[in-house]
Symmetry: C2
Subunit: 616 residues, 2 copies
C-alpha cells in the first residue's frame, strides 16, 4: 500500500519536513495548513518541490467548523472553502480533510450537517476536489466515526466521503468492527496514530502531574474549607509527585511550595468571610495584595546600547533623561518608558529585559506582600543618593520595582534619579507599554504564574500552547482588571531552546499602520511575514479595499475575536534576546494573537537561519 505522513508529524520548516519524508521512503504527504502558512514557498513552489522529491500531495488539512452552523456563517465558510480549493489546485492536492465542527454555534442537526456537506462537496467537485469528513473525538455534536459516516451517507454526494483516524476512533473506545459496514470507496482517507494508554489513567496523572495548590485546576481551597469545618487541627501537608519537581533544585521548589500554601490559606480564609472557624484565625495573615496600575518602565540591559537605541529611535522614542550616577538612559514616548542600562552584567547573547517598574498605589505595601510571600527583597537603595525603591525578584530573576510615578513628586519618584537630557519625541505614535512577554526558564512556568498571581494580585488566563517549527511553546497571560498591566509568561518546549523565545515588549498604538510605516521608513526592517498568511486572511475575513494589501506590505498580523474586536500587530527584528511589538487593539480585543504566534515564530526562525547563512 502507499504510505503517507502528515507534515505536522515532523519537526522543522515545511521544506525540511518534505525532504525527511521523501528520504525515509514515504510516497506522499498530508500538508498541514499551518505549515503552508508559515512557509515562504508559494503553493505552486511546494507542489514542484514535492514532485522533485517524488512525493504526492495526498491531503490538505484541516478545514474546520464548516457544517451545521447558522446560514450566514455557512455562507462565510463556503467563501473560505472556495479560497482553499483554489489553493489546493495550485498545490496539486485533490482531497481535503474536513473535521467535525467544534464551533459553539454549530447545532445538533444531522440533516443540516448533511445538507451543508453536500453543498461543500458540490463546490469541491467544480475544482476536482474530494471532501473527506472526519469525526474528531471531541467534536461538538459528531464525535464517532459511525456518526460521521451516517451523515456522509445521508448527504449522498460522489465528492464526499469519510476520513478515518485510528486515534479518534480508538481513543473513544469505539468498536472498529463497524468500519466494515462502510463501502471502501467512500473511505477517502485513513490516518494512523497510536497513543500510550496510561495518559488517561488516574495513577499516571497522580504520579507525573500533581502540582502545588493554585498551579493546577482542582478546587483545593474548597476542599480545605470542608475539612476545616470538621474541626481538623492537623497540618496542611503537600504531597506532590511531579516529573519536574523530581529533578528541580530542592530549595526553590520548597519556597514555591510554601508560597502555594500561604496563598491557599489566604484563599481559604477569605472565602470563609465573616465566619472564620477556629483554625482559620490561626492562619498567618498576609498583607492584602496591592495590584499594580500600570507599567512605570521596562529596563533593558546590554553591553552595547547601540542596536537597541537605534531601534527605539526608529520606533519614535527619544532619549529624555540620563541617570545621575549610572550608565542608564531613559527613552520615552507617550507613557512608555524604557531604561537602557549598559552598566549591568549581561549574558553573552546580548540585550535582555532585566527589570520591570510597576506603578503601585502603595509601593511599600506591595513589597511587604511580596516579602510575606517569600519573594527575595532587593536592597532598597542602590546608591546613597538614589531614590528609595521597593523591589523584589521574580522567580526568573527579573527585578520588579514598585513605583509611584507622579508628575510633581519629589524624592519618592524614581525619576528624581534622572536628569533631563533630550527633548520630547517628535511624533508620538506609541502610547504606553501594552504588555511584556517574559520567557521563563524550563521547569519554572507554573511557579512563575503562581508568583505573579499571588504576589501582584493579577488574574491569570488559561495556558495556551503555541506551535513553533521546532517545538511547542506554552504561554499564559496575566493582567489586572482594566488591562493596564499585562504580563505574558512563555516557556519553550525544551530546556535548551530559548534563543528565539526571546523576551519582548509590546507597545500600544492607536495607529499600527502609521507606526509600522514610520519604523520602516526609519530603516528598521519589520519581521517579514509569508504571503501564504495573507492569502489565508483573505479566505477567513472580508477586508475593506486595500486594507489587506497594507498589512501584507508591512507585515502586520491580524486577529478578530468572537465579539468582533480587532487586533493588529507587527514585530521588529530581534536584538540580543529582545524584540518589540507594535499592537493596536480595537473593539475591546483582549487577546494577544495566539493564532498568529506560529507564523511569527516561524518567521523569526527564518530570519535567524538567514542571518546565520549571511543573508537577510
Amino acid at each position: 500500500m502507499r504510505t503517507s505522513i502528515a507534515t505536522v508529524s515532523l519537526s522543522g520548516t515545511l521544506t525540511e519536513k518534505l525532504t525527511a519524508a521523501a528520504r525515509a521512503g514515504f510516497d506522499g504527504v498530508e500538508i498541514f495548513e499551518n505549515d503552508l502558512l508559515a512557509s515562504p514557498l508559494t503553493p505552486r513552489e511546494i507542489r514542484a518541490r514535492c514532485a522533485d522529491l517524488g512525493l504526492t500531495v495526498d491531503l490538505y488539512q484541516p478545514m474546520r467548523d464548516v457544517e451545521a452552523v447558522p446560514a450566514e456563517l455557512f455562507a462565510r465558510n463556503l467563501r473560505r472553502a472556495r479560497h482553499k480549493f483554489g489553493l489546493m489546485r495550485e498545490l496539486g492536492a485533490d482531497t481535503v480533510l474536513v473535521c467535525s465542527s467544534v464551533d459553539p454555534e454549530a447545532v445538533d442537526d444531522d440533516a443540516l450537517a448533511a445538507a451543508h456537506l453536500r453543498e461543500l462537496a458540490d463546490l469541491a467537485q467544480n475544482f476536482g476536489i474530494r471532501v473527506a469528513y472526519e469525526a474528531l473525538a471531541w467534536g461538538r455534536h459528531v464525535s464517532t466515526y459511525d456518526h460521521a459516516w451516517r451523515i456522509v451517507e445521508a448527504a449522498g454526494h460522489p465528492a464526499l466521503g469519510t476520513c478515518l483516524d485510528s486515534f479518534h476512533i480508538l481513543s473513544r473506545g469505539s468498536d472498529p468492527k463497524g468500519i466494515e459496514d462502510i463501502p471502501g470507496e467512500k473511505i477517502f482517507f485513513l490516518q494512523l496514530a497510536d497513543a500510550p494508554l496510561p495518559a488517561m489513567d488516574v495513577l499516571q496523572w497522580s504520579r507525573h502531574h500533581r502540582c502545588f495548590p493554585g498551579q493546577g485546576g482542582l478546587d483545593v481551597a474548597g476542599l480545605v474549607r470542608h475539612v476545616l469545618r470538621t474541626g481538623y487541627a492537623g497540618p496542611l501537608s503537600l504531597e506532590v509527585f511531579n516529573d519536574v519537581f523530581r529533578q528541580a533544585e530542592a530549595a526553590p521548589t520548597a519556597v514555591d511550595a510554601r508560597r502555594s500554601l500561604l496563598a491557599l490559606q489566604e484563599e481559604v480564609s477569605g472565602a470563609e468571610g465573616k465566619r472564620p472557624s477556629a483554625p482559620l484565625t490561626a492562619t498567618p495573615v498576609l498583607p492584602a495584595p496591592v495590584v499594580p496600575t500600570g507599567f512605570a518602565f521596562a529596563e533593558l540591559v546590554a553591553a552595547d546600547a547601540e542596536p537597541l537605541t537605534g531601534l527605539l529611535a526608529a520606533l519614535g522614542f527619544a532619549r529624555t533623561a540620563r541617570h545621575r550616577s549610572k550608565p542608564v538612559d531613559l527613552w520615552q514616548q507617550g507613557e512608555a518608558r524604557i531604561l537602557v542600562n549598559t552598566g549591568a552584567v549581561v549574558r553573552r547573547d546580548g540585550a535582555q529585559l532585566a527589570a520591570v517598574g510597576l506603578e503601585s498605589p502603595d509601593p511599600g505595601g506591595a513589597a511587604g506582600r511580596a516579602e510575606a510571600l517569600l519573594a527575595p527583597v532587593l536592597p532598597r537603595r542602590r546608591a546613597p543618593e538614589d531614590a528609595p525603591l521597593d523591589a523584589v525578584a521574580a522567580p526568573d530573576g527579573t527585578e520588579l520595582f514598585f513605583c509611584d510615578t507622579r508628575r510633581d513628586a519629589r524624592h519618592t519618584d524614581w525619576r528624581a534619579d534622572f536628569e533631563d537630557v533630550g527633548q520630547a519625541p517628535a511624533v508620538p505614535g506609541v502610547r504606553r507599554i501594552d504588555h511584556l512577554a517574559l520567557t521563563q526558564p524550563w521547569h519554572h512556568f507554573d511557579e512563575a504564574a503562581l508568583f505573579h498571581r499571588s504576589v501582584l494580585g493579577l488574574k491569570a488566563e488559561e495556558s495556551v500552547d503555541v506551535a513553533d517549527p521546532y517545538g511547542l511553546q506554552r504561554s499564559r497571560a496575566l493582567s489586572n482588571a482594566d488591562g493596564t498591566v499585562r504580563i505574558v509568561l512563555t516557556v519553550g518546549a525544551a530546556p535548551t531552546d530559548d534563543t528565539v523565545h526571546a523576551q519582548h515588549i509590546a507597545f500600544a498604538t492607536d495607529d499600527v499602520v502609521a507606526a509600522a510605516r514610520r519604523l520602516r521608513d526609519a530603516g528598521a526592517p519589520l519581521l517579514p511575514i509569508p504571503a501564504n498568511y495573507y492569502d489565508d486572511l483573505a479566505a477567513r475575513y472580508e477586508f475593506t479595499d486595500g486594507e489587506l494589501e497594507t498589512y501584507r506590505e508591512l507585515g502586520i498580523l491580524y486577529d478578530r475575536d468572537e465579539h468582533g474586536g480587532n487586533l493588529r500587530h507587527c514585530y521588529t527584528r530581534t536584538v540580543g534576546r529582545v524584540f518589540f511589538e507594535l499592537i493596536q487593539r480595537d473593539g475591546g480585543h483582549r487577546g494577544y494573537g495566539a493564532r498568529n504566534a506560529p507564523v511569527r515564530l516561524a518567521a523569526q526562525h527564518a530570519v535567524r537561519t538567514a542571518s546565520a547563512l549571511g543573508g537577510g
Copy 2:
C-alpha cells in the same frame, strides 16, 4: 495552621530535602519510605537532623496493601507493620499512612477490611502510633474518601482515623462536601496537591501524546484490518502530534515513522493469515524476523583499558584472545565474552558499551530484515583479513553484530579474527551475559523499543518508571522467548542527566554470594547499599539464619516475585559510563529488580558525590 511537605515532593537526597523544607519555613515533613531506604542516615540520625532543623516528623508513609487479604498474608503484613512501627519510634513519627490496598489478593469485604485495620491499630497503639487510612483513587476495592471513612468508622478504634488527599478526592470527581460529615478528630492527616485538568482530556491526549503505530497501546493493526476489508485502496497515512517529535530532528523521525508503518503492515498481513485481501498482497514483504538466541559478546570501548580490565579480572574474567589487527582484547568467563577495544573513538567521559554481538541462527537473514526495516547497515568487513560480520546500527548508535559462534567454525566465526593469548579463567563464577542495559538518548526511547521489537523480533514488556533521587528514569525490557537475550532500554528524566544512568552489563551467576565475595577479595569494591534497605527487607520477608546478614555485608539486593522466584544481584562501581551487575535468578524469576533500582540509583549518586568530594 501548621504546614508540612512530603519529602517525595522535593528533589535530591533526604538530607537535601529536609534542609530545603526547613529553609522555606515548613513546620514539618512527611517522610517517604523510599527516601529513608536510600539514605545512609539511621532513623535516629534522621530524627536528630529534623530536630536540629526545627522540623517535626508528621507522617511516615506509605504502608501499602495491608487490609482485606487472606489470613496468612495478613499475618505477614502485621509482622511487617511491627518492624515499621519500631522504626517509626526511632524516627519520632507518631502517624503512619496506610493506603487502600491494590493487592490482587485483596477481597471486596468492608467488614474484613475494618477488622484488619482494627487489629493494625491495636498493634500501633502499643507503639504510641496512629494509623491514617486513605483511599487511593485507584484502590482495588476502596477508592473514595467516604468509603474509606465508612470502614474506619466501622473499625471504631481510637488509634485509627482517616487521611484525606485532595488529589485522590478531586481527581475522582467526588463531592468534597461530604467531608463535613467526618468528625475532625478522626481526620488524622490532610495531604494537598493540585493537578492540571487537561491531563484527562482527549484533546490534550491527542495533541501531545500521539505516537507512531506500535509505540503506544492502541490496536492500530486491528483497525487497519477492518478498513482493508472494506476494499479501501488509499494510502496509510501517519498523523501524529507529539511534543517530542515536534522538536526532534525530522530525518530520523521520518525513518522511525516509516519503520512503524512497515512493521504495522507486516502485523496486518500476518494476522490475515491465509485470506489476504487484495491490498494486502500489495504490501511490501519483509524478510521474516530472525530472533537472536544469545549474546555472542559485548564490546566496550575505552581510551585506557586498565580500569575496565582490572574490574573484569576481579570478576574472574581472563584475557583469552587478542584481535589479529586491532587493539581489541577478548575477555572471557564461561560463555560471557567482553571485547575491550582501545582503538576506537571514545567519549571524553570514558569507557562505554559500543557494540553487541547477538547469536543468530541466520546472520545474513537477520541483517536483511534489519535493512528492510531501515536500519543503517554497517560495512561488512572492517579489514580485508577480518571475518565477514553482518552488522547494523541501533537508533542510539550501538552496533549490533549478528554472529554465529560455533566451537569449530572457521571463517564465519568472528573469533577467527582473534588469536589465543591467555588461559581459561581459574574460577568460573559467571556463566553468561544475563542482560544489557542500554541508556537511550532523550526522545528516542519509543523509537528504540519499536526498533528492537521489529528488527530483532524481541518481545517488549511494559515500561516501568523508576525513581532516581534527581528525576524519574523510564525503563523497558525486551527479551526472546527463553530469556537468553534480554535488553533493557532506559532513559533519564532530562536531556542532560546521563552521567549516572550509565550502560551496564549484567552477568548471570549461579552463586552471587560467592561471586560477590571473590570480587571484594580481589580488591574491587561493590556498590555500598544503605542499612535501611536491609531493615526493610527484614520487615518484608523471612530469611534463613545469617542470610540477610550476608546480603548486608556484601551489598546484595534481593527481590521475590509473586510466584516465589528469587532475584539476588549486586553492582560494581562505575567505570566511565559502564558498570557491571552480578545476578542470580532462582525459581524462574524473570524480572530485573525494579523495586531495588531507586536504592541502587541513590547509592550510585552517593558514590559519585563522595568521589567528587575526594572521599570513598
